[in-house]
């Protein structure tokens, strides 16, 4: 399976690499010189079929995975959202290529997309939330399709096998063999990074042909770096996201991807459409749900950055203000309840009609001891949402009697 970004192998492997000083003596990955221009889109050879034993094996595993994925509760089966995302894929790669992909929109609040060799593509809701326009979404989906069309999973598997075989044989050589082993393994990661870059460029070629803005894809990585850094700073860590590549990194660092994509976009004389409005329309009500999922990730710094970035585009809408109120209320540190209450009030002042804002305000006020107004807000919420999952608890907090339907307890 090929994934879009930020994947890291297990911490144990990273530690193993870090503990061995020999790593420093190995040749570094070749510096990424941006190619002169976007690669041409190859002639379409039709839907892939597995060719050899290895490929049939990988397809068999993918079919098993797909069976479970298809039945998963994380699949968003809303026809409108699926039709929209699929439509963007088809516009990007073309109707003929599009037919060979089965696309699954997964409700996972993390930035990622992936491609299985058999044509199963996934995009996670965390990626959809982070797109600022249809052009970016087209680039991400085009990147995944480029992995598929170029049979990257199969080539990567063969490369991994060759690397691990070489590593094992090298282990027979005392002392020096260790360096050779690690070199062989690193070769696999360098190869993998080259595949990611090839898919980045392939995706960008699709984007350009479809008439979208080519500048957009670089922006995705720039924002990811900023968001990750903001999250790190809020946790008291040093900002360093995306700027360097670990020894066992399967993907180029985000900063490098941003740089070569930006250089290519400039050469491509960008006149295309970023598609901001069409993306907003396409996501529809899902945008708000994805925002809620994001708040629950407990990544205060990253989410603050993300909301501020959305506000740079749309202004501080009632929805963004209310979501930011949730973020502060759920963190609940000193002073957060007052900030949250202020944000909810601003949202209400802008006419934001979602009952959840009143619920959040009610809870924030109660936590500050403002009983009367807090209870009034919860009552207003319960009137709008009498069937809320925690209605019984909220009724108690609002000072309302238990519902008459409740039978006698034993």
């Amino acid at each position: 399976m090929k994934r879009l970004g930020l994947a890291r192998l297990s911490a144990a492997l990273l530690l193993a690499g870090a503990a061995l000083p020999v790593a420093a003596q190995l040749p570094a990955a070749p510096a990424a010189a941006p190619p002169a221009q976007l690669p041409p889109i190859p002639a379409w050879g039709g839907t892939l079929e597995p060719q050899d034993r290895d490929e049939r094996g990988l397809w068999m595993m993918s079919a098993d995975d797909e069976q479970l994925i298809r039945g998963s509760r994380f699949v968003i089966d809303d026809p409108a959202l699926n039709a929209y995302v699929r439509g963007v894929l088809c516009k990007a790669v073309g109707a003929d290529r599009c037919q060979s992909v089965r696309l699954y929109v997964m409700r996972v609040p993390v930035f990622n997309a992936s491609m299985h060799p058999n044509g199963m593509m996934q995009i996670w809701s965390g990626a959809l939330l982070r797109m600022r326009g249809e052009a970016e979404l087209a680039a991400v989906l085009g990147h995944e399709f480029a992995h598929y069309e170029r049979r990257h999973s199969l080539a990567g598997f063969k490369q991994a096998r060759a690397a691990t075989d070489a590593a094992l044989w090298a282990a027979f050589i005392p002392i020096a063999g260790l360096a050779v082993s690690l070199g062989a393994l690193q070769g696999f990661f360098i190869y993998n990074q080259a595949q990611e870059k090839e898919a980045d460029l392939g995706g960008l070629s699709f984007v350009q042909r479809a008439g979208y803005s080519t500048a957009a894809f670089a922006d995705v990585w720039e924002r990811l770096i900023a968001e990750e850094d903001a999250g790190r700073v809020a946790r008291g860590q040093k900002p360093r996201a995306g700027r360097r590549s670990g020894f066992f990194a399967t993907h180029p660092p985000s900063a490098e991807r941003m740089t070569y994509l930006r250089a290519l976009a400039r050469q491509a004389a960008d006149t295309g459409d970023p598609g901001a409005a069409s993306l907003r329309a396409g996501l529809g009500a899902w945008f708000g749900r994805f925002l809620e999922d994001q708040v629950k990730l407990n990544d205060f710094g990253g989410t603050e950055w993300l909301l501020a970035d959305l506000a740079r585009r749309d202004g501080w809408t009632g929805q963004l203000l209310s979501t930011r109120g949730d973020l502060y209320r759920l963190r609940g540190q000193d002073g957060d309840m007052a900030i949250a209450a202020g944000l909810y009030r601003e949202a209400l002042a802008k006419g934001h009609a979602d009952p959840e804002t009143r619920r959040g305000l009610g809870l924030a006020l109660l936590r500050q001891g403002q009983q009367a107004e807090g209870q009034a807000m919860l009552k207003a919420y319960l009137e709008a949402k009498p069937d809320a999952g925690d209605a019984a608890m909220l009724r108690m907090m609002a000072g309302l009697p238990s519902p008459a339907t409740a039978g006698p307890t034993q």
Partner: protein, 253 residues
């Protein structure tokens, strides 16, 4: 998925993890109070999770679609034959029968959940070195997939669901050579292959795991009929309410 295979392969290649000592592992448990009566009890056979391939020299799993397809056929036939021979009424998993499959499908969700629970049993109860304090009381065997399984399509037509998992990686020629050399030159044991399997029975009213059999020493070449007979015999050994017993251990290859 590929990433996991690669990670596992790299770990095997670089660290040469020796197999866990088998003696420290309990093999099977039955939950108290389970009643399986031949002639009455209906068992739904869930689509088993079967993977067959080879192990590359460096330890990577190389999936083999042909071997897997053969093993699936042979194991399915054997499971049916051996259980029917004990008078158990067999019921097919619903969408295998109907040929339909769709999003948010509880059948697939329970197929995905079962290995997670089974692995928790193996790791935190069956493996003596890591047994949780709450799993040390005699007779305790308390795991469940949740009572929601009662509303899974087809659940009302059966009493129990049988889940099975097998994974086999037969050592390639290079792997076998490396194994001999490693052992001969350095005395280091590297696994010549992987042969794992487990089977479990879940109560379709409560979701409780009522039986789990996870013998870590799986035998029988699942690519051949005789081997599949043996493997299924091992998977179904001491199936509650039946006279099924483990096949006699064959000489090791």
């Amino acid at each position: 998925m590929k990433r996991m295979m690669v990670a596992a392969g790299l770990a095997l290649a670089t660290l040469a993890v020796p197999a866990l000592p088998v003696a420290a592992q309990e093999v099977a448990r039955v939950r108290d109070g389970v009643t399986i009566t031949p002639g009455q009890t209906r068992i739904m056979i869930m689509q088993p999770n079967i993977k067959v391939g080879s192990m590359s020299t460096g330890g990577l799993f190389e999936p083999n679609a042909e071997w897997t397809a053969t093993a699936r056929k042979l194991i399915d036939a054997q499971v049916r034959q051996q259980l029917a021979g004990q008078g158990i009424t067999l019921v097919a998993q619903p969408e295998i029968a109907a040929g339909s499959d769709g999003p948010q499908n509880p059948v697939q969700q329970y197929r995905a959940l079962f290995p997670v629970v089974a692995k928790a049993v193996m790791e935190f109860q069956f493996f003596l070195g890591n047994r949780l304090p709450t799993k040390k009381r005699p007779g305790v065997f308390d795991y469940t997939l949740g009572s929601g399984i009662a509303s899974m399509p087809g659940a009302q037509d059966a009493d129990y669901a049988l889940f099975m998992f097998t994974e086999d990686a037969y050592g390639s020629a290079g792997r076998k050579a490396a194994q001999l050399l490693m052992a001969g030159l350095f005395g280091v044991a590297i696994a010549p292959g992987v042969h794992v399997g487990y089977a479990g029975l879940v109560d379709l009213k409560t979701g409780d795991l009522v039986w789990l059999n996870a013998d870590p020493e799986m035998g029988g070449d699942v690519r051949e009929t005789d081997g599949a007979v043996k493997r299924v015999g091992q998977l179904l050994a001491n199936f509650p309410g039946t006279k099924l017993t483990a096949p006699a251990p064959a000489p090791k290859k």
